[in-house]
């Protein structure tokens, strides 16, 4: 009992606080550091920022990323634990590498997610993947560049087609979770674009039509899915009630 209490104490009073502090410092530093390439193009290379385009791109980009800011911590926290989350957030590629590796390592070591042991094991596992992944990326980036320099422009340009293929792939990945919402928002996305293309919305000032084309499918999807889920819950409650 006493030993148990001591162990619990070590994890909560020594291990966690020190790592949380280190993590917070490095993550805060990284937030500013990642803007250095932008500042360099501006002040070092004299490329004047196009603020209107930057604001537009930022709005689109944040809308794409926003669901991840919320969903990733919720979905992965039980596997990562507090300390694993800190490394995972900085290193990225959670869903397609760090989390699967952490789960495999937890299983191999025979510990359960959500426990102190699980947190410790996943922290070691996630940290270890950083060295492997960055090592492999570095090899590819150096070798890949040499190959790319030898390829004709037509081939390198067709590599850009990976982008729309990826967009299609991601939509397909999430479609299975909620088919009605997927159909609904795709119809809105295409519909509003067709309407916008006819020019009937050109009276909207400040390029507002682009904003509408972007926000309508997103909020349409959220409202649609919310109501569907609410109805599903109400139905469950009714059928649950009659059974009782």
């Amino acid at each position: 009992m006493n030993k148990n209490a001591q162990e619990k104490d070590y994890f909560n009073s020594k291990y966690m606080p020190s790592l949380v502090l280190i993590g917070r410092i490095i993550l805060s530093l990284a937030m500013f550091y990642f803007f250095v390439p932008f500042l360099w193009t501006w002040f070092g290379k004299g490329i004047e920022p196009q603020w209107k385009e930057i604001a537009g791109a930022s709005a689109v980009w944040l809308m794409i990323q926003l669901p991840w800011y919320i969903s990733e911590p919720i979905a992965y926290f039980p596997i990562q634990g507090v300390t694993g989350m800190l490394v995972c957030s900085l290193a990225g590629n959670s869903s397609n590498m760090r989390i699967p590796c952490a789960l495999t390592a937890q299983k191999a070591a025979g510990v359960k997610p959500g426990t102190q042991q699980g947190t410790l094991v996943s922290t070691i596992a996630i940290s270890a993947t950083c060295f492997v992944s960055i090592g492999i990326l570095a090899i590819f980036v150096i070798g890949g560049q040499t190959i790319l320099n030898m390829l004709p422009d037509s081939v390198t340009n067709s590599l850009s087609l990976m982008l729309p293929a990826l967009f299609g792939c991601i939509f397909a990945q999430f479609m299975g979770e909620d088919l009605p919402t997927a159909g609904f928002c795709m119809a809105i996305g295409i519909g509003i674009l067709l309407i916008g293309n006819t020019g009937v919305l050109n009276w909207i000032p400040f390029d507002g039509v682009y904003l509408i084309e972007m926000l309508l499918p997103i909020f349409g999807a959220i409202i649609f899915a919310y109501n569907m889920q609410k109805r599903r819950k109400a139905k469950e409650a009714v059928s649950g009630g009659t059974e009782e």
Partner: protein, 234 residues
Amino acid sequence: MSAELKELVNSPFLWVITIGGLCLVFGLALLFIIRSIKAAPHVGVTKEQVNTTLKTACVSAIGPSVVIAVGMISLLVVAGAPTALLRLSVCGNVGYEVQAVGVAAGQFGVDGTAASLTGEIFQTAVFIAALGCIGYLIVPVLFVTKFDKVIQKVGGKDMTMMMVICNAAILGCYAYVDAPYILRMDNSTVALIVGFVVTLAVQQFVKRTGKKALLQWNLLLSMLCGMLAGALVG
């Protein structure tokens, strides 16, 4: 891509920044490994378990890393080597990082190909990539210790609702991103549709055979098939 632009995106200064960024990740990872190994006996994790963890994690990371590295090539073409390496070694996800250039280019009225890239598009892309990181970093910095409590409070049915809403938001985003490609009716439309169909096929295959390892290759497979199909048509 002009020679001048090629020089910009592969500048030695960007390499220095990239190496600095990688040092941040390595430093954090190394400190966490050392402290965790030190704490292991106090928490009831044996030396053997630590060794198993290190081995399993390293071996498991090889496959996904290669997938990410191949996915990185499309970013390499448009954003240059140092930026591609930095972006895929820090916050975010290969699938999303690759799109930063496309989103930036879209604001300038062109597509995100190497041929249409300009210094301004590159600058906008590195700006939004950095901006996108803030969300990933600020959530753990501010809330990491409170997460345990919040997770338990949210729980139950509300958790399902939260997941439904998150999923819907992602679908809505991609409906918006996909729609222009669908209406374009050129080789990029073919690439999108093939990427979509291949993913559905992979999901069905995994469902029937239970070979979940294939899911790790899903993204790469869809991207390659989509690109090939698009290139053949174009």
